[in-house]
Amino acid sequence: MTPDAADKPTPSFRIERGGRAARLAAAGASVVLLALVLLPAFAGRNLIQDLIFLFYMLALAQCWNLLAGYAGLISVGQQAFVGLGGYLLFALTLVGGLDPLLAIPIAGAVSALLALPTALIVFRLRGAYFAIGTWVVAEVYRLVFAQIKPLGGGTGTSLPPAITSSMPAIEWVKVLFDVRTPAARDIVSYWVALALAAATLIFVYLILRSRRGLALGAIRDQELAASSLGVDIYRVKLAVYVATAAMTGMIGALIYLQKARISPDAAFSVLDWTAYVLFIVVIGGIGTMEGPVIGAIIFYLLQRYLADFGASYLILLGTLGILIMLFAPRGLWGLVADRYNLTLFPIRRRLILAAEDNGAGEV
């Protein structure tokens, strides 16, 4: 051994992502996922339908959070892609005669294709102007679909039971759980919704853990600094916009497969597909992966117990959103995470110095 090598300092730090909480969370999540997969065996139809709603709101919230919380693209026009996905599902199954389960990924691919030219136009607007620009685009989509007569024009159309019940798994579920066709259809939709919500979570998680995720975190924290460190802001934003459009389109297709009835006003509703999603993310905590999960559960509970109050419920939701934004801008998860230094989705990297193993600098 040469003296040189002996002098070489041993690395006095390591990079850590998770922690005990994150490992526990991963184990817990696997158990929860397994329980949710098996749930239709003993849950009633109402709970199944409620959970379908929870899953797709969660998936939409994760997408919007990636878009707004990380890429800084605050869109109030994501209903464009929910409606587009829904209408594509109807077009592909009603007119094209495709199997609904096959139509969902195609709807996602077409949404991504249309998101590209859309982005080229709305990306000309910055910041808050971008937000309203995306809303205008969603209105254009709505008005265009209202003109398409084979899909019912302005009044919309329904999927006949022959199509909604044509999914291959339905017969199998009927035998397995001993239920009638409509209930079996809900169970299949439930699994698809669960798969889509889980896939969205994993997709967002993997993106954020990747090199591109580091770039996104950098853009979120300081766009100018990220750009000066060589992050191609425009390309990263474009990629995120197109990817979330594809996911949102698939979720939209699933939502309208479940609803089996579509109309332009409902499918491109800014309240249902953007306002609610925005409140979920903000109440839970924007710019974190845990936030939308917490927000979706809170929103589901509010919806379940208070939605009957109609207008007052919406006033309450609006007020809650404003209060959180003013007094806890990082959402409920932000409050918890700050206090207990918790991370359930290990997407941040911590620098642990050997000398002071507990003094961790977060990156």
Partner: protein, 289 residues
Amino acid sequence: MTGWLDALIQGVLLGGLYALFAAGLSLMFGVMRLVNLAHGDLIVLAAFTILVIAQKFGIDPFVAVLVALPILFVVGFLLQSVLLNRTLGRDLLPPLLVTFGLSIIIQNGLLQMFSADTQRLRSGAIETASIALGGGIAVGVVPLLTLLSAIGVIVMLNLIFYRTRIGRAFRATSDDPEVAQLMGIEVKRVFATAMGLAFVVIAIAALYLGLRANFDPTIGPARLLYAFEAVIIGGLGSFWGTLAGGIVLGLAQTIGARIDPEWQVLAGHVAFLVVLVIRPRGLFPRAQD
């Protein structure tokens, strides 16, 4: 031919209404850099205010709006100083989310108080009066008044901005709020005053909204989009540009409607997107932001 000429004239007059919608929004963009998602709902709220005053005292909407003006100025001043001033900063999300929440609160509050029924401001004979221009073309008195009011509002705003002390404060805070503060301008107060002024413009816009057509609590968001499109088509930072943007939008809508009545709104949106592609900074840009 007469039909097309008529469409052009009606389009310009409709543009006056959109310019009125847009002038308030343009003022907020200009001074506070605030993008107010509740703008359309605030116009509808002002229309209901005028309606209530007119019905309660049995007066004409043109008189009721004079009563509403000072009330709405105070409401705007308070809204900015109590709520919106807290949201301004580097982060884009707080003002957007707070005004979005406000939009939902106003819509549903109005729904609860007035139900979803359509309303209209009634002003007797003037509503249907028109002036014949010859050649089978006539212009309504109310649409004409709308356009003249829009021009009047823009002249007034330009006078306030470039000829008065508060206008100088508006421009200074718009350029650099921190330096303006250092020069002894109370930025938050200036913002509140600007919002009060924007509410005066909103009240005038609401008067013509209610006189020209039916309204109900849900029509706000569409008015926000028209106002926004007029501002962006015209170019940020110029009130005359906003008037031009309103007229371009009005023309696009009436020409679209002339081809197929269902295309009216779509034609306006498409015109906006086309301008965005060809001239992303609008037709008469002034501001750098």
